[in-house]
Symmetry: D2
Subunit: 353 residues, 4 copies
């Protein structure tokens, strides 16, 4: 294909790779009632193939399974098993599995918007947030050249990265030089069974394997320059400490940012509030909501803003060398299924689907 | 008195100002079985005066009230009401009340080891951790000259400060220049009724009034130089973000430290492990325990180490400009009652009592 | 007035007595977008009178304050301060205050649908759940005769009572003789500051003052016979044990019911599912949802069913002498503000407003 | 052997089958410093055999691994792998595994005090609590006759059963006829990974597979009569509803008991307080502590009483047909490892070891 074209069809047939897991369930919840995406394929492990979705999935989202989805048949996660007319696939496969399976679909020409963590830092894979770096999608050209794929693979960043990066993007006009960030992450980020109750009740865990590295590298790629061939990482230093705490949903983060130019808390708040959004169905009207109340944002009170797609910020203060502030996003919506969905909407809008 | 003298008496009569509150209860628990301190006075509000301690206090510690304490009479919080032979007072009064009442006792010649937050940054009030800056006690001479007190007022730092400062003290040999710290603080730090369950279950609050300022200033005083007359604040920059999370006890903190000299994580761990302790009854054998396991320390698993008096650290890693690591202390023992108690033991050891 | 008349006006002007508290906030949330009730009065303590609602209330519900409500002026809680054209008042005053103040409004002719616990067991005060005992509303005639009020006072039961009584009503066709019930109640039932985090994290409290008596008496009044003059209490024995647990919303209850006639779990489930609802705006389509999955209902997963107004049941099993099962309701919606609102809708429907 | 004999040796060599799991870790904690039991064997799965205990176990108890235990070698769970001089084995194997493996040890002549749930209701297996039915141990004679074992198998009841049965035993002098019980059970009862955080934070689960049946049957065996050959189940009816709540340790239970004779709450409290204990090392001085405060016992405040081996009760009240009250025990100490340990001490005392 090579040349992007505008999609003019009213309806896009979509599928979910790994549809029975926690993120898969969120995809189904978010796709319910979507104006243009029509759910046409649900894949899972061989053991689930042939069952109805209601039989195959242990549904744990707090809204009921949509009736039509409950009766859909689940297929194996292979290109042969997926109907030919599916235009766009969302992937929430475990990264180990995704590494093997996503390329099979790409060879067959599928466009895949993936939440899996594999290949996010690969030079020819766009890592995108539609409001931040939509232009990186053009890496797909490079990707096709290098890999010989007819399809296209686009990744969204890790949930802890995506919580912070919109606020950094808003501040980058002042010249970001150094970022220190500590996270207070919800247990849902580890998947349904990722954190046992014995581990986390009356406790906190100052370690999430691989998470700090993801924040430190993905954020620099997201804010990096794309010259048509390569994305050069942003030059800022990022140091992250990641913690798991006893909250269900919503990652809260403390950011300390140092910029080349002086910036007051008011100017920073203004920059965040005015940071432009995108006109896509699942995007919030305003990308970043900034609270005046220094005790906000809080996970339970604020994670649902903008249907879980808005970034919240607050507590802006000067430090000796820059600014400190807090930010929050819903980790399984804006930080996972919603992120892939929004990338899917961008892929359609930009004509890649 | 002016000149410090070694206390040679076997027993020191001690009292607690504000004995019925949460920190007061911890004092009683920690003093139970103390080899040299004998509890001789318990004060509370006028309303409680004349009652037995068991009647006056709503006991919430998970060990029973010591039998002899249960039957002691509570007095009002005035110098007249306290027996003359009390040598040392521990204060856990609310800071607003302490501002008024502590000076009354000091005028009457009492030595007060206080956990209340008032006057911690006053130039003539020693703010001490026995293992860190015992020499600052000599500020008592200045204090007596300036205020005309016969007694002596010594403060311990805030619970969030005391969790971090021992690790910083160990690193200061490499020339501390800049510190960023995020805290994950337990609800007990706000007092028994300070955080409602509706506020904190499935949530986190990125704001604790005044806490960040305490960390940013107290830490610089604790590590400051004392020239016999003044304590000059340490020159490092400290920026803190403080959060309340749903844990009962134990403050966990993420520290990012930049030093003039390069220091590897191994060297930093070594410096922490070897940082010397003090030979006082309530002090742990080793001040700082450093974990190899990157997932430790954790509040519930590690807060009781050294009977709640040891500092724990772990997760040491290099960053672009320095180090990051995590530290933990029991906020109502090492961070409050135990801190005052240890200062009291130092006051006796150094002859001020 | 004496004789009920059908209300034919399209819009009913309503007010909230005690509008700034936790239940008051729920009233505002539930009234937002109500098809016939128009919010026209908000009362609070003298200290709040004259402020806008946004200033007077510390808003803690997880949806924003409706814009028009935010700007409304709060008045004192006196008949003089409330606009004359208000037709119906919802009361969420503390019961001690309500005992004094509700009669003042009743003397002035206001119809009050009250969630406050005072007077629930008074012989001339209807205690109603619209789906269970709507006919008890006619006690208003008795009430007016006895008290000389022009207005009318209707109460809804306590949150723990209302969770269980619909299931009992469905089983009463089999002749209820004895009920044992244990409750697992959410912290919101005690009000925003009623349960501190130190009390309840990693804990449970097997005592809620007065709660057991409420369940034991209110349930018998709700299921009692009304002969036009008196409500005779249902003859069943009820024994309740009430516990507070660390959940935010949703009371879960274990019921053991003994009936005169044998009834199988299937027959009981059928009776619950078929128990008829009412055709009022805030009523759920089906009063009781019965789960097949023995692990349901669960507070977090099921409390929002029917917008928080449906009763859930599950786990039906035979015992030696009867049945056991579990039930659940949202305690601050179906169990408080939603209960009063539904009674208000019934009052309008039946012509008392 | 057949005839019980008094053990006169000072030291008993003990082993733990399934030593690396959660209950296995509790055994090790409880055996540390035991005056007569010397730990001589630790078994686990084949994969762990040959490793040191520190390598094989993921230690999660909040006291450090005893130094000598850390260095012990773990063996496979087979009679051949266990040293011959081991006198007594504690079993905390999963019940499916225990069904296969315990008989192998019994054939080889080992005495096994087992916490595993298999065979608890077998007619020839003593199910004992030393303070309640020590005489049931003599079933070992029957067991040896029937099974041809040289060893002996003794079981302790399920954690939820053992919490309630001591209070029932104390009341049985008044003629127990009917018991209804609801439980609020801690997550540790399901093992370290048994309950995920996503399942239980801000939630409760009204179902624990098989648990209700265990309470309903085991309690009747424990209080049953042993005639030298058979244990006849107690005739009382028991109906149980079991719930999981977000507490870490400590099962709280609401009991409704009906007795043939009238009994007042004071008489019941007296009967509980005076119920006689046993003179074994791990037994509490008083079996049942009865609180006056109706809000006690509470899991976090009271589970550690008597080093986790005391039963707590409170909230005694009359009901229409009997009594209601609450009871509590530490589920992994008195309800699991401590229960087996105490049975082991009884086996030694009675000469079976």
């Amino acid at each position: 294909m090579g040349v992007p074209r505008k999609n003019t069809a009213m309806t896009v047939q979509v599928g979910i790779l790994g549809a029975t897991g926690a993120v898969g369930q969120r995809f189904i919840q978010l796709l319910d009632g979507h104006p243009t995406f029509e759910l046409a394929a649900l894949t899972a492990s061989e053991a689930s193939a042939g069952k109805t979705y209601a039989e195959a999935a242990k549904w744990r989202v707090n809204t009921p399974i949509p009736d039509d989805v409950a009766e859909m048949k689940v297929t194996a996660t292979t290109p042969e098993a997926v109907p030919n007319d599916v235009d766009l696939l969302f992937s929430s496969l475990p990264s180990g599995v995704a590494t093997e399976i996503e390329p099979e679909f790409l060879h067959e020409g599928y466009v895949v918007s993936s939440n899996s963590s594999n290949d996010r830092m690969a030079p020819d894979v766009p890592l995108t947030i539609p409001e931040i770096n939509p232009g990186h999608l053009d890496l797909i050209e490079v990707q096709r050249d290098e890999r010989g794929w007819d399809g296209a693979l686009v990744k969204n960043p890790n949930c802890s990265t995506i919580t912070m990066v919109p606020t950094l993007a808003a501040l980058d006009q002042f010249g970001l030089e150094s970022v220190h960030v500590s996270t207070l992450q919800a247990v849902s980020g580890a998947g349904y069974s990722g954190v046992t109750s014995m581990e986390i009740i009356d406790n906190a865990i100052p370690h999430i394997g691989g998470e700090e590295n993801k924040m430190e590298t993905e954020s620099r790629k997201l804010l990096g320059e794309f010259d048509g061939t390569d994305v050069s990482l942003h030059e800022m230093d990022v140091a992250a400490s990641c913690n798991r705490i006893p909250t269900l949903d919503g990652h809260l983060e403390n950011v300390f940012a140092e910029t080349a130019e002086d910036v007051t808390p008011d100017e920073a708040a203004e920059a965040m509030r005015e940071y432009s959004g995108v006109d896509l169905h699942s995007a919030p009207d305003q990308l970043i909501h900034v609270f005046e109340d220094p005790a906000r944002p809080q996970p339970r009170l604020d994670r649902e803003r903008g249907d879980g797609m808005q970034i919240c910020a607050g507590g802006l203060h000067e430090t000796a060398n820059g600014l400190k502030y807090n930010c929050l996003a819903h980790n399984t919506i804006r930080g996972a299924a919603g992120a892939s969905l929004l990338n899917g909407e961008l892929l359609v809008e930009e004509g890649w689907v």
